[in-house]
Subunit: 221 residues, 2 copies
DNA sequence: AAATAAATTTAGACAAACCTAAAAAAAATT
DNA sequence: AATTTTTTTTAGGTTTGTCTAAATTTATTT
């Protein structure tokens, strides 16, 4: 009755989920890049996941998780984000240190453990990077947010999440004193390099690169 | 510099450690029984652990962990027991439910994670089963304790640990209201079946079987 | 419509971790 | 001391998950 998947299978499932969240579907090459493995390895696993009815896949085509596969993905995402929240809130880790550890903890799958942890943490709805945490039924809040590059001039908004967990990004944000919840207004956009000047928390003015702006999600306030 | 071991290697190392703690050394058959695998598989792994300098082993002989192997074992035991403590104290699990989960969590090996968890828990010195938790240097309290079967009549003592993590044992102890710290005096020993009558917490009288007495460790008070 | 480039799959290997059955060594009995 | 039993190892397989190199399919250009 109770299904059990290997670490490897779970990492594939989760990454397919993230890919199809951002582009609607997943492809062999993109998944290989995400998992830092090779396309041939991906094809092997796609066959296994299809055989287990977790994946909708035909050779040479793009692929998507089946409803069952998506249910499993949401469980993994739930565990990952709950542990990240735990590490930051209870163990006092920085938000740039928790992703790798959660990458391991997410594979300890025991329903009671996850649900008790959730309760212990007081049912947090967002992880330290601003991403929503699925509840025990896989439901989560969908934020309407936009990429900072698309935000209109002088529109009051705040950072709602970041589009990458890389410690390089998080280090840069720490340096610039930008975190989830920081108030942002775009004061000027420079067409030369598409960098922009921001006002942070209605006070400081900073300049950020296009690369940075393109991984910052904001919502209007 | 930083070594990394597979789940399987870690389970072998930890179980060799426990065997040599109780009998001074480990053997192929005993380890196979402990790991619920087959002797041939054990031999395979012994060669690998020897090649990695974690094990002192010659074919057909008993074996022991090298100092390095023991250091690693203590790290695994530390994580296992800290997580058990966390599960009972923070997530409100029963002491009979935590062993299996800790069996997984112990493999998430990140020094900062373990040390921060230790601090968060306030540096507990014993796990829920009364076993000592190694500190970050691998040091732990050695309790002088004896098996209940060897305790003299009317000697005031208390339960200090249990010699098995089986949920069957823990269920029985829960039923008899015996837990770590319970005061115990042996009032009578029956030679017919070597069962014994106990006084618990200076109040209740209960009868326990030899099998049960032989997995209860006590220390005098 | 051909030719070229890119994406994907297949073929064939390999390492890790397990297994069964058979052989060898060590220990216990007679 | 010889025989029997027990313990351990070896030989030879299997599964999972990975890889490289070659082949195939699909997409893009010319
Ligand atoms: Mn992971
Ligand atoms: Mn996150
Ligand atoms: Mn384990
Ligand atoms: Mn324990």
């Amino acid at each position: 009755m109770s299904s059990n998947f290997s670490h490897s299978e779970e990492n594939y499932i989760k990454n397919i989920y993230h890919l199809q969240q951002s582009t609607g579907f997943a492809t062999t090459n993109e998944l290989a890049a995400a998992l830092r493995s090779k396309p041939a390895s991906i094809t092997d696993m796609l066959k296994k996941l299809k055989a287990k009815k977790l994946l909708i896949y035909e050779p040479y085509k793009e692929f998507n998780l089946s409803p069952q596969g998506k249910r499993i993905a949401l469980g993994i995402v739930r565990r990952h984000r709950l542990w990240e929240y735990f590490l930051v809130e209870k163990l006092k880790f920085g938000w740039d240190e928790v992703h790798e550890i959660a990458e391991e903890l997410e594979h300890v799958s025991n329903k009671k453990l996850t649900d008790q942890l959730d309760q212990f943490l007081n049912y947090p709805r967002f992880d330290p990077h601003g991403d929503p945490i699925p509840d025990s039924n896989g439901k989560m809040i969908v934020q309407q947010q936009m990429i900072l590059t698309e935000l209109a001039l002088n529109a009051p908004s705040q950072v709602s999440s970041v589009g990458s967990q890389s410690s390089e990004l998080l280090e840069l944000l720490k340096h610039k004193n930008i975190t989830i919840g920081t108030r942002v207004e775009v004061k000027k956009k420079f067409s030369f390099d598409r960098s922009m000047e921001l006002k942070l928390n209605n006070q400081v003015a900073v300049n950020i690169s296009e690369q940075l702006a393109s991984v910052l999600f904001v919502k209007s306030v």
